[in-house]
């Protein structure tokens, strides 16, 4: 399937502003940062988690534990897709039991990735609660899952794709909507 770029919906500044707002909302909603921990879903969620953590640390002046979660082994489509996707390392070097976890991903779509992430996280311990922060919510949920912190709501068609580019992985910060060719 070939895609062509339809529209740029967030530029570098818009992404930075959205992340700053999410950082403030997280502090407000968790009533401070006690027991707060941020965990990003590989790949781009991990970069966003690091950025949000840095923002919270700057605002509050304290260190927040941050981790990276690889959800590959918990996917619900492993029995149906040809060639298993590559497994990467999960890096959570703190005990999540009792922690107020904010899970971070770039795009919330069907909700299946988040379902996998919840299962994976619970295997690490029993957090006080888990909340979800995403840069974009594009709709079309297939599971009863919603985000607590949202950078931008973007109504999309099913034949469209939302692509988040981050400078850590892609050299620049922007969000574009792609459309199927033809």
């Amino acid at each position: 399937m070939e895609f062509k770029e339809k529209a740029m919906i967030m530029d570098k500044e818009a992404i930075a502003r959205a992340l700053t707002r999410i950082a403030h909302e997280i502090i407000e909603k968790t009533k401070g940062t006690k027991e707060l921990a941020i965990i990003g879903i590989r790949n781009r969620g991990a970069y966003l988690a690091e950025r949000i953590t840095a923002l919270i640390e700057k605002i509050e002046g304290i260190k927040i534990p941050v981790g990276i979660l690889d959800i590959t082994l918990y996917r619900d489509d492993l029995t149906t897709i040809a060639e298993h996707p590559q497994v990467h390392k999960t890096e959570i070097d703190f005990d999540i039991t009792g922690k107020k976890i904010v899970l971070v991903d770039d795009v919330l779509y069907t909700g299946r990735t988040i379902r996998s992430a919840l299962d994976a996280l619970i295997d690490f311990g029993r957090p006080r609660y888990i909340q979800l922060a995403v840069l974009l919510d594009r709709g079309h949920r297939e599971l009863p899952i919603r985000a607590d912190f949202i950078g931008k709501n973007v109504p999309t068609a099913l034949k469209e794709t939302v692509q988040v580019k981050l400078k850590e992985a892609d050299g620049k910060d922007e969000v574009v909507i792609l459309e199927q060719k033809g």
Binding site: D70, L73, L78, T80, H84, Q86, V87, D123
Partner: protein, 309 residues
């Protein structure tokens, strides 16, 4: 990174360097899983792994069993002494019956070289070679290479010596294939009668002089001497062998200070390796056992992906 497309793992001879690297990096991720409090992931839920062992093995069989269970697969162990094999069933018939039971992955150890290749050709399910005759023992070599890479940070450019019964060793063969493909320089060392003709064609240096084999070596893989194979007068006795080829503290003194000492087990203390070395700072023998689980999890995960439609 390449994608894994093979339904079987039969040996390292037919793998590319990229495929070996993929197994190693996947194993690295699985090693993290084995350090968790809950060491189990649901990746192979609903899959059945059958361990079919025609030769005695505890280490490898248990390692595969642990690996499969940590991936949430169901595991069935068949020891051939108590199975229909005793009643004369052929290898292929046994394999077809296991396939008819809807197993997904068959892990096979057999005394005949090539047994796994034959099975894989006749079966649609995945076959993993857990050691066939003198041919290959790919997961052992992969865990040796994984451990070496973890210890020394790389494989390319390393000098690795394999000492012991090279002639009867599938571990040696798989190690030579794997290490050479990744750019290491392999030397094999053994009494002359235990060096098989043509081994140098696999890309390994050959010597009967242990000091020459170990000089400049970054690692030594010590193989078990299989004295039960005693093949007449030219075969050394245990004491002679220990004096001439045994890895001892005395011998280590003149070698690289951080030389990595490996052994696939079971150990014959005081024959191919002294207790002091086996339990000493250079030894990674027990780490090899731990890493074996991560490597076998990676292999099970990858071959299982290649057969799902």
């Amino acid at each position: 990174m390449v994608a894994w497309q093979k339904k079987d793992l039969l040996g390292l001879e037919n793998l590319t360097a990229e495929e070996i690297e993929l197994i190693l990096s996947t194993a690295e991720s699985f090693k993290e899983v084995t350090t968790r409090e809950i060491k189990k992931v649901p990746a192979l839920r609903g899959k059945t792994v059958v361990n079919l062992f025609y030769e005695p093995s505890t280490r490898t069989r248990v390692s595969f069993e642990v690996a499969a269970k940590r991936l949430s697969a169901d595991v069935i162990n068949i020891a051939t002494e108590t199975s229909s094999v005793k009643k004369g069933e052929t290898l292929i018939d046994t394999g077809k019956n296991i396939q008819a039971l809807k197993a997904d992955i068959l892990v096979v150890r057999h005394s005949a070289s090539g047994a796994c290749v034959t099975l894989a050709r006749h079966l649609g399910i995945s076959v993993i070679n857990a050691g066939d005759g003198w041919h290959e023992h790919p997961t052992q070599a992969l865990l040796d290479i994984f451990t070496l890479k973890e210890k020394l940070g790389k494989i390319k450019g390393l000098k690795v010596s394999i000492v012991g019964d090279i002639a009867h060793s599938r571990v040696a063969r798989s190690n030579i294939w794997g290490l050479s493909k990744l750019g290491a320089q392999v030397t094999v060392c053994a009494p002359k009668m235990l060096i098989p003709p043509g081994i140098e064609k696999m890309g390994a240096g050959v010597t009967c002089n242990i000091d020459q084999a170990l000089k400049d070596a970054d690692a030594v893989n010590v193989l078990r001497m299989q004295f039960e194979r005693d093949e007449g007068e030219a075969f050394p006795n245990q004491l002679e062998y220990f004096k001439q080829f045994g890895i001892t503290t005395e011998r280590l003194k003149s070698l690289k200070k951080n030389i990595v000492v490996m052994h696939p087990g079971p150990l014959n203390r005081g024959i191919e390796i002294s207790s002091e070395v086996a339990d000493g700072a250079n030894s990674v023998i027990l780490e090899q056992v731990t890493n074996g689980i991560a490597v076998r999890m990676a292999v099970l995960y990858l071959v299982s992906g290649a057969t799902t439609k």
